[in-house]
């Protein structure tokens, strides 16, 4: 067991920069003679000291990579301990941890061993053992290696719940500078194959309920933030396009943590842009749950998210003519635009309104953040804010008090680190590529 523990330490540490760890999206009952089930909302079994949920056993099958991507800790030219699980070892470890309720399932990725197809075949072997020999019904998230043959995705589809292939960067040029062996072409091809194949599987399931599933919890991707100075506009436009055209379940953002020294990337001592990552997630939420369009959040005249206030407040301050809204009459869509009113609060307001007018006290009880909302609403005609929505001082009043550990300097990185590449520099490095990532 000692060698397994040692391998787990190496291969668990190697996988931690892939931030996706959700076990949500599928619902599956247990069955006699099997072990496991899947809960629609997902379950957090523990929380790391940086506040992230530990839901799945998140590991690399191997970190002995033959690629040399400049940002990656596992790159070929980096001098670190290398390890690999055999498919049997990983399958057994997963089941033993699952039986003790440490995990909801497995998240397995891998460095590229020999070539993408060979690596995918090993992942397939692992999943086959877990599902068939151990009769496992819990959650599995598998990574697709860019450039792999769709035939391997076809084999993995019925065995895993979720699949992801990482976009890494919003710009194709950045990708070719930092990860020459990956191209957006060989990332988007599997993504698009999975999307089309899933649609086919869904319509088959309607006709034949016992038809095999194909990645039932869908696919996701990850973008690194801050390795170069991309605009939030590029990131969010890409996010929106991926949700609409690739039917992705989630786009994850991972603040770039400098782990290797490289002239083109921020220095190892520089802090990761956590605040920016946080703002991007807030914007992502607005796209998915609050019915915002990308152009409302960021656009050509306002291409980067405000660091001082969240994107919803930023929108309200830039569109003061919409406010204040009357809390006892505004419809659901308009309520969602009010800073301090979230999806749950908006639903509660609509439900409670049927029994009578709401007053300030009942709003607080229902979870509305009056500290913010009061500047944008009237309660039975009464305005409770100290200044009106179009007042230039309002931003100062609403500004987040930023906790010290999230503070980043306005230049994104510390003064003594190398400045990251700008989009213009990338343009010069690779003059002939087209600008947009997705047509």
């Amino acid at each position: 067991m000692d060698s397994i523990s040692r391998k787990l330490e190496i291969l668990g540490a190697a996988a931690k920069y892939d931030v996706s760890c959700s076990s949500s999206g599928t619902s599956r009952s247990g069955a006699m003679g099997h072990i496991g089930s899947a809960v629609k909302s997902g379950v957090c079994h523990s929380f790391t000291e940086d506040g992230r949920c530990i839901s799945l056993l998140k590991v690399l099958l191997s970190n002995a990579c033959c690629y040399d991507c400049s940002y990656c800790i596992n790159r070929k030219s980096n001098d670190i301990p290398r390890a690999s699980f055999s498919p049997e070892e990983l399958a057994n470890l997963t089941i033993e941890l699952y039986k003790r309720n440490y995990i909801e399932g497995l998240f397995v990725s891998s460095a590229v061993l020999k070539n993408p197809d060979y690596t995918m075949e090993l992942l397939f072997q692992t999943l086959l053992i877990v599902r068939r020999r151990y009769r496992f019904l819990g959650y599995i998230h598998v990574k697709a290696i860019p450039g792999c043959d769709p035939a391997l995705l076809e084999k993995l589809g019925p065995l895993a719940d979720r699949v992801s292939v990482n976009m890494e960067f919003a710009s194709s040029k950045a990708l070719s500078v930092f990860a020459g062996q990956k191209t957006h072409q060989n990332i988007l091809t599997p993504m698009s194959y999975i999307k089309n194949r899933k649609e086919q599987a869904q319509s088959e399931a309607l006709a034949f309920p016992s038809a095999p599933s194909f990645f039932p919890a869908g696919q996701t991707t990850q973008l690194m933030i801050g390795a170069y100075t991309e605009k939030d506009l590029s990131v969010l436009r890409l996010t929106d396009a991926l949700y609409r055209r690739m039917s992705l379940k989630r786009v994850y953002y991972s603040a770039y943590v400098p782990v290797v020294q490289n002239n083109l990337l921020p220095a190892v001592s520089s802090p990761p842009p956590l605040l920016r990552e946080h703002r991007l997630y807030q914007a992502d939420w607005l796209l998915r749950f609050y019915d915002f369009s990308v152009e409302e959040i960021v656009n050509d005249t306002f291409p980067n998210l405000d660091t001082e206030v969240d994107p919803k407040i930023s929108y309200a301050l830039r569109n003061p003519s919409l406010f204040p809204v009357e809390i006892n009459r505004a419809d659901y869509k308009l309520l969602l635009r009010v800073p301090g009113i979230g999806v749950t609060s908006a639903r509660r307001i609509i439900a409670a309104r049927r029994f009578g007018s709401l007053n300030e006290f009942s709003l607080k009880q229902m979870g509305i953040v009056m500290k913010r909302a009061k500047y944008f609403i009237t309660v039975s005609g009464k305005f409770l804010g100290s200044v009106h929505p179009d007042n230039p001082h309002l931003k100062g009043i609403l500004r987040d008090s930023l906790p010290c550990d999230q503070m980043t300097l306005s230049g994104v990185f510390g003064a003594d680190s190398l400045p990251p590449l700008s989009e213009e520099t990338l343009d010069r490095l690779i003059p002939t590529s087209s600008k947009a990532v997705l047509p």
């Binding site: 931690k16 496991g36 506040g51 049927r354």
Partner: protein, 262 residues
């Protein structure tokens, strides 16, 4: 002030509710568990009656809703002080105004009952993740210490998930244990089956997971405040990754001390 004392079970509580409605004393009555209070005031001992329990249950489910009955039960599991009286008022209000009472969060009684139910549900959901098993021969054993009485809520999840695998979950706070033999389950109090509490098994996977947990954190993103909010200290006792020494290390230390003492 009339006082009704019930035996501490949910069936007993609903029997007391039945009595309150039957004797038309739903205002100004205090319902409490016999275990807690010895009262100087006039009190009536309620003996649990399954028929009365069923009548109240069906009455709520048909005249109000299944969801409301579920809220009532879940809120009762919180055992918060005076929750029984709050729940009685909640029911009275419900029968007056209909099943949508659940949404009338402006009303302080409704608000308190729904919040109690939500607290219990939230804790039950967390424990689905925090329950940790240790293998003891062919049985998997777990110890937990929740604030609320959540075993009845988490039982269906673990039975479904572990199917043919027998397990035992011991709740140190309410001193009850959930036993599952691969086919049926029981929730037994300590008094009913003290033998279930005798074993304290250890498992090598505690240290395997602990090592994995330690390498998973990204140094640059550490935030003690956030981590504490998501995983409060009160739960750390039964989480191997949060303990200074694992169970096996503790046992080794104890046997060393015993050896040296002799």
């Amino acid at each position: 002030m009339k006082i009704l004392l019930y035996d501490g079970s949910f069936e007993g509580f609903l029997t007391a509710v039945f009595t309150a409605f039957e004797q038309k004393i739903t205002q100004g009555v205090h319902i409490s568990c016999r275990c807690e209070e010895q009262s100087l005031f006039e009190s009536l001992i309620i003996s649990t009656d399954p028929q009365k329990y069923t009548r109240v249950k069906q009455g709520i489910e048909t005249k109000l809703s299944f969801a409301l009955f579920d809220d009532l039960y879940t809120a009762w599991l919180s055992h918060l002080p005076n929750i029984e009286d709050q729940l009685l008022s909640f029911l009275v209000l419900g029968f007056e105004m209909g099943k949508d009472i659940r949404n009338m969060l402006q009303n302080p009684v409704v608000d308190r009952c729904m919040k109690a139910a939500n607290k219990v549900r939230r804790e039950a959901h967390r424990f689905i993740g925090f329950v940790r098993f240790v293998q003891y021969h062919d049985l998997f054993v777990s110890d937990i210490e929740p604030d609320f009485d959540i075993l009845p809520l988490i039982a269906p999840h673990f039975i479904d998930r572990f199917a043919s695998q027998p397990f035992l979950i011991r709740d140190a706070k309410s001193r009850t244990a959930l036993v599952y033999n691969g086919r049926d389950y029981r929730i037994l109090s300590y008094e009913q089956s003290p033998a279930l509490w005798e074993v304290s098994p250890c498992d090598e996977f505690e240290s395997i997971f602990k090592n994995y947990y330690d390498v998973m954190a990204i140094e640059e993103r550490k935030s003690k405040k956030r981590a504490m909010r998501l995983m409060p200290k009160k739960y750390w006792k039964n989480l191997p990754e949060k303990s200074v020494r694992t169970c096996l290390e503790n046992k080794a230390k104890k046997s060393l001390e015993k050896g040296s003492a002799v």
